[in-house]
Amino acid sequence: MEDFLEQMAEIMEVDSVNPSDELSSFEAWDSLTTLSIIALADDEYQVSLTNAEIADAKTIDGLKELILKKQDA
């Protein structure tokens, strides 16, 4: 997941993101952004995420952990 932070920055429409950044703190945070994360996780990491799981992940790092956990499952 080397490019994860870069990919998240692109989705959030900012230059860069930090692992501790809260997902809901980004200006671009809306339902389409959630769909972008779902599409990214599916295409790049072959895991299926739900709206609720993404909301529960809370931060960029939380989201990364969620994807890693699902990949291992």
């Binding site: 692109e10 989705i11 389409l32 769909l35 972008s36 599409a39 295409d43 739900t50 709206n51």
Partner: protein, 253 residues
């Protein structure tokens, strides 16, 4: 005395995507009308289950429709043994929910291959000499309400399905001299595995909103099978180039 148009005992029909959802419902319904069926899908196990649930004559062809160049030989060889077709319906399709910014072009390519380009290749085989019977042959494609109206995060799927409308109308004109009819069903949302997989990503509120978009509520796979059956039957013998909305009123609003 009018002919019983729901007697399919003299008809041989190819159904793609027959392992589940609309394809399976269409196979089971046409089988109940005594049609002879050639069922096609990638999922061998589920396809064989559909086949064994059908009455009478039924055979399967397991191929991956995203392998565009493999369709012609595999299907032609099968039809030579199975017998010429009276109708074909291309139900197989893959969904792709992604906003523009995360659109993956490899996935777009696969969606287009299965949903759209395979439709052309299947039609090409169907229209070849000796591959179809000459009395009222009928081709049916399956598009979507999202080929008719817009929806966020659906651009690639919409592209693949709206292209089928162009294909339907062009082929209807091109194939009319051969008396081959070409039509398309544009379904609304129905309760299928594909919807479960897609809507599993959303919350209950989304699903309620989806239901409200259909004045008659969400449909069942059989509702689409009935529309397909009409277009395959001789009852629609003067219908070609049409897009039949079977959507519980979704696009009426």
């Amino acid at each position: 005395m009018h002919k019983n148009f729901l007697d399919f005992s003299n008809k041989t029909i190819l159904i793609t995507g027959a392992a589940s959802g609309i394809g399976k419902a269409t196979a089971l319904y046409l089988s109940s009308l005594n049609a002879k069926l050639l069922l096609l899908d990638l999922n061998e196990k589920a396809l064989k289950e559909t086949c064994s649930a059908c009455n009478g004559s039924c055979d399967v062809l397991v191929i991956d429709l995203s392998d565009i160049h493999g369709i012609k030989n595999a299907l032609s060889e099968k039809i030579k043994v199975f017998g010429a077709l009276d109708g074909m319906v291309h139900v197989a399709g893959i969904p792709y929910i992604s906003p523009l910014k995360t659109l993956n072009l490899d996935t777009v390519d696969k969606v287009l291959k299965v949903n759209t380009v395979a439709a052309l290749e299947l039609a090409k085989v169907f229209t070849k000499h000796k591959m179809h019977n000459t009395e009222n042959p009928s081709i049916v494609f399956i598009s979507s309400v999202y080929a008719l109206v817009g929806s966020a995060a659906n651009v690639a799927y919409a592209m693949s399905k709206s292209a089928l409308h162009g294909i339907t109308k062009s082929l209807a004109v091109e194939l009319a001299p051969k008396r081959i009819r070409v039509n398309c069903v544009a379904p609304g949302f129905i309760n299928t595995k594909m919807l479960d997989e897609v809507s599993g990503s959303f919350d209950g509120e989304y699903n309620e909103r989806l239901s409200r978009l259909h004045p008659l509520g969400l449909g069942e796979a059989e509702d689409i099978a009935y529309g397909i059956t009409y277009l395959l039957s001789d009852m629609s013998r003067w219908v070609t180039g049409s897009i039949l909305s079977v959507d519980g009123g979704f696009t009426a609003q």
